[in-house]
Point group: C2
Amino acid sequence: MKSFEEKTLSTEQIFTGKVVSLQVDEVELPNGKTSKREIIKHPGAVAVIALTGDNKIIMVEQYRKALEKNIVEIPAGKLEKGEKPEICAARELEEETGYACSSMEWLMSFYTSPGFADELIHLYIAKGLYKKENPASADEDEFVSLMEITVEEALELMEKQSIHDAKTVLAIQYLQLQEAMVGK
Amino acid sequence: MKSFEEKTLSTEQIFTGKVVSLQVDEVELPNGKTSKREIIKHPGAVAVIALTGDNKIIMVEQYRKALEKNIVEIPAGKLEKGEKPEICAARELEEETGYACSSMEWLMSFYTSPGFADELIHLYIAKGLYKKENPASADEDEFVSLMEITVEEALELMEKQSIHDAKTVLAIQYLQLQEAMVGK
């Protein structure tokens, strides 16, 4: 693997927020020239494919201020400081859906926007769901509504571009591939 | 669809860069309380599944400063001001791989990080590739190396987490589903 490493010459910290921070790095390129890189630092997140007993996927509809609209996503949320992804996955599932699960399996981790951000999402699949009696509630600034839909319904929503969130598309494709492999 | 719209009370512009800008919005929540939202604005991007005559996928390996490492992705790049996605897709394909194509088909568009960014990626599939004699060259601060791999090789790289970029995983699963459907 050829390396095109960019040496950091200086870092300017622009903003440190609750969710993201922003820095601008001056870098030395492989050809010796310099350039600037705008970089968003994010704590990382989890996303959960939560399957009910009748094989429906639990979806969360919520308003996303960055998009100025409601969108439909699988349950997800960012890691708290020092929190292990599998702990975060169970916490977010409970907070957003009210469910706990008997099995939480890691599937893969992926970067969402490597061109400008270091956000890494850890994707899990939760099975054996059961309603918690007194579930932990969501963050106080989080308002969500829930849907339980089949893979076929999810595909229809994808085709209409009503589901158009990368991690959610990726999750639906994963389930569709599982079905295709069982069908073989 | 229930709306949990958050009314913007004020916007503080923190940073305006070459790639991203950052603002903090103060919002009124559905329950009447207020909160702050950190929002990254991005011009949007394209990504291209480029298939060679022998059904290999063209992958681009490049250093991503945000991650401080090299990663393997499908060809992609951000929209220039006023640029149409299909024009951008052809341009990025040529700049990053040296190929033009006889067919460029839109597959879907998806948000990469709706929790904090408005980046929307338009995914295309390019077929009928041919080498351009004098291809437009990449941005002067962009250094990439190319690989041509089969879907099976891509899946192996995914399993080893050597491919771990959301749009690239999504593209590979798309191709795998196409194969599964043909196989039925």
